[in-house]
Amino acid sequence: MSFWFRWKHLIKLTVIAILCVLCALAFTPLKKTIHLGLDLQGGLRTLVELEPTQDVPKITGDLLDEELLVLQTRLNGLGVNELTFSKVGDTRINIEMPGLKDPEQAIALIREAAVLEMRPLTKAQVAQAQSDPKFDPYKVAGPPVITGADMSSATAGTDPSGQPAVHFTLTSAGSKKFYDWTRSNIGNPLPIFLDKKLIEAPTIEGAISNQGEIHGGFTTDTAVRLANELSAGSLKVPTKIIEIENVGPTLGAIDLQKSLVASLAGLGVVLLFMLVVYRVPGFLADIALGVYCFLMLAYVALFQVTLTLPGIAGFVLSIGMAVDANVLIFERIKEELWAGRTTRAAVSVGFKRAFWTVFDSHVTTIVGALVLYWLGTGTVKGFALTLLVGTVFSLLTAVNITRTFVDGVVDNDLATAPALYGA
């Protein structure tokens, strides 16, 4: 008992100090532990919707998983470090590619079904397809001889003349089919369709078994892309990009800098305000606010929250909330002091009486943030989440930690004059 009373402030302070050190360890070095959203470092975010077709009338959970895997395999080749894929509802996939340099390439990878087919056409049909743009050879082509599914691998390379081309290897079943067909069709065209468009129709010069080459007028980029797509497998249903956000990297860096300046400026003036208006407890609340910032940073680092602009806004707003609680409490303490209570009693009563109001203010904010997190659009969710977590933390720091500091000062008679409390 007496041990506790004698040392409680020191023990509590030590606990808080240890907490801060742990937090600091969690979020240093900042550059490595804090994940910046693509609006702060540039990059691409898209929401992709899978569209049912005649063959696949319903998007099932399995299909969604399968398509996600295909997209993942395709996009992994882009060299983005923090690719994140998340299912949204039953038919959508949200893809975030922070730091992506070449959005065009990524978009093409996402939207192409990459269905490669070899379907027979007559020489006359090929000639008509090359001269008449309105003619759709896909409609008159015969059933597919082989498709992308018959390929075991595909790589990008060049043809003997140095033009970009895609080399493919067929599976054993595929090569048998292909060999049989090419052998009986020497001299005829070999039309290759990609996503129902005729990309080339070379003449068959001899029987081909398990390897081949597609020219199709590629550039190096498109050849790499097609090879990539063929290896990853084709999408069963077409994808439709229904939302896109692409931020240039320099712009993201500018926004990051601006929002940091804004947050720090806001924080600084608030700290000063508290110090000037509430003096000793204001100073202690400032320290508690520091602890709060440490907690938030540690949360962002440990839970790998992606920090976005709206997230920063939520963070800044929750600083206002944290201070709000302290203003309520300190005003109450002032009133109790005016009522003639001793400092010690005023502090104790002030914290108690103000608590339910502080609690109310947090509950009403949490209600709003929860609804927003539940129903809000993609970008707003980040705001809702940091506001939510920030509100919970601020209830802890603004009430308990500030109280620990103030009690420590009051109980040791470090500041007893009412003037030191702004009264």
């Binding site: 978009i107 956000e245 508290m274």
Partner: protein, 409 residues
């Protein structure tokens, strides 16, 4: 000390405050009608916003011509994609300036109603027309038409659900006193009206940031009303002899420092966001600045006077009923008092509530201070917030009449 010593009759000036709010809301309504409803942002209308930074000064016409020369659908043909043509007559183009842009007029914001989901062809076409695009400082946001409809309906649901939840919380907080709950609701709706109205007047587009601000402000407004109403209820018990309107006015002045200081701290952070933050934050901060100010204003200058009005109206009704009852008693001096007495019964408990016995706090006040001092020590458990909660719950459940309210004459 400043506000509580002020002889500011907020309640007496209520008609001015009502008129001020009315004027803002009516102006907002007119602006709404003039703009054919609230202008909605990209996430709710669908379409694209392409923010293009050039490495040189450009003119609006130059960019327009460059865009005219391209047919995106043909560019898409290059690699088997389908693009919506950009030239459909419904896109707008405007020169813009961002902090950090050095050259004048080197940024153009293109808004299209069709959702362009690949910025590449647009940038390429502009490059080809000799207007070099700085891709590092450009951005595109695009939302498909079906998705935007979904976002809009979800946001409206969010608003409705948040309102209902806040109403439930108010009902829970003021369960037995309908009056406080309803007046807090009116303040809430007032703030929503003011925010929407000011947005319409400023002709700003309501986007998802606006929704976020709206929901945050709703919470803030409820909280602010609760703080003031709590004090009014407390003072109602502590100073039963003071007329209601004076008591409310005193309560307002007592909580004014708190109101101003909390508003100040929130406004400081918001102003910082508004002046130093980027475009996204600016829009959001603007909505919150309007909403938070309105929320603080409405709790003091709208909700509290309304409470007084309600009370006055209630008293008048009661007097009429009482007068009617007594006159009936006079008229029918004999046994027709069934109706009258039931009315009397209804009134009786309410009157009792209004007159708590003050001596209790006097007694407590004379108790020596050490008792009060002992409190924190018995409660000093390391149980953290739960311990604190339990302890405070205890306190809340107890009598409040022991509380001496300072600042009362």
């Amino acid at each position: 000390m400043f506000f509580r010593n002020l002889k500011w009759n907020i309640i007496g000036q209520r008609n001015y405050w009502f008129a001020l709010s009315g004027a803002v809301i009516i102006a907002g309504a007119i602006a709404l009608v003039a703009h054919h409803g609230l202008p909605l942002g990209l996430s709710f209308t669908g379409g694209s916003t392409i923010d293009v930074k050039f490495s040189q000064t450009v003119s609006e016409q130059g960019v327009r011509d460059a865009l005219k020369s391209i047919d995106l659908s043909s560019i898409g043909e290059e690699f088997r994609s389908q693009y919506a043509p950009i030239q459909s007559g419904d896109e707008s183009l405007q020169l813009a300036q961002k902090q950090g842009d050095v050259a004048p007029n080197d940024r153009v914001i293109i808004e299209t109603q069709s959702a362009i989901n690949d910025p590449g062809p647009v940038y390429n076409a502009l490059d080809r027309a000799g207007l070099k695009v700085d891709r590092g400082q450009s951005q595109i946001t695009s939302v498909g038409p079906s998705l935007s409809k979904e976002y809009l309906s979800r946001s409206l649901w969010a608003l409705v659900i948040a309102l209902v939840l806040q109403l439930l919380y108010i009902a829970f907080r003021f369960g037995n006193q309908l009056r406080y709950g309803i007046v807090a609701d009116i303040a809430l709706v007032h703030d929503v009206f003011v925010m929407v109205g000011i947005y319409a007047i400023a002709n700003r587009k309501a986007d998802d940031a606006f929704l976020a601000a709206l929901l945050t402000v709703i919470g803030y407004s409820v909280m602010d009303s609760i703080v003031i109403f709590d004090r009014i209820r407390e003072n109602g018990r502590v100073m039963p002899d003071v007329p209601y309107d004076q008591m409310v006015n005193t309560s307002l002045l007592q909580t004014m420092t708190r109101s101003v200081n909390t508003l100040a701290t929130v406004l400081i952070t918001l102003l910082a966001l508004y002046f130093f933050g980027g475009d996204t934050l600016k829009n959001f901060a603007f909505a919150l600045l309007v909403g938070v100010t309105s929320g603080a204003y409405s709790s003091i200058f709208i909700a509290s006077p309304l409470l007084v009005l309600w009370k006055n109206w209630d008293n008048r009704k009661r007097e009429i009923v009482r007068a009617a009852a007594s006159s009936r008693e006079l008229q029918t001096a004999t046994a027709t008092n069934t109706g009258g007495s039931s009315q009397m019964k209804r009134i009786a408990p309410k009157r009792k509530l209004q007159a708590p016995a003050p001596p209790r706090y006097r007694k407590k006040r004379t108790t020596p201070e050490p008792q009060a001092e002992a409190q924190p020590e018995t409660s000093a458990n390391p149980g953290g917030i739960l311990g604190l909660l339990a302890e405070l719950r205890d306190d809340d459940g107890g009598e409040h009449t022991d509380e001496q309210l300072p600042g009362n004459p």
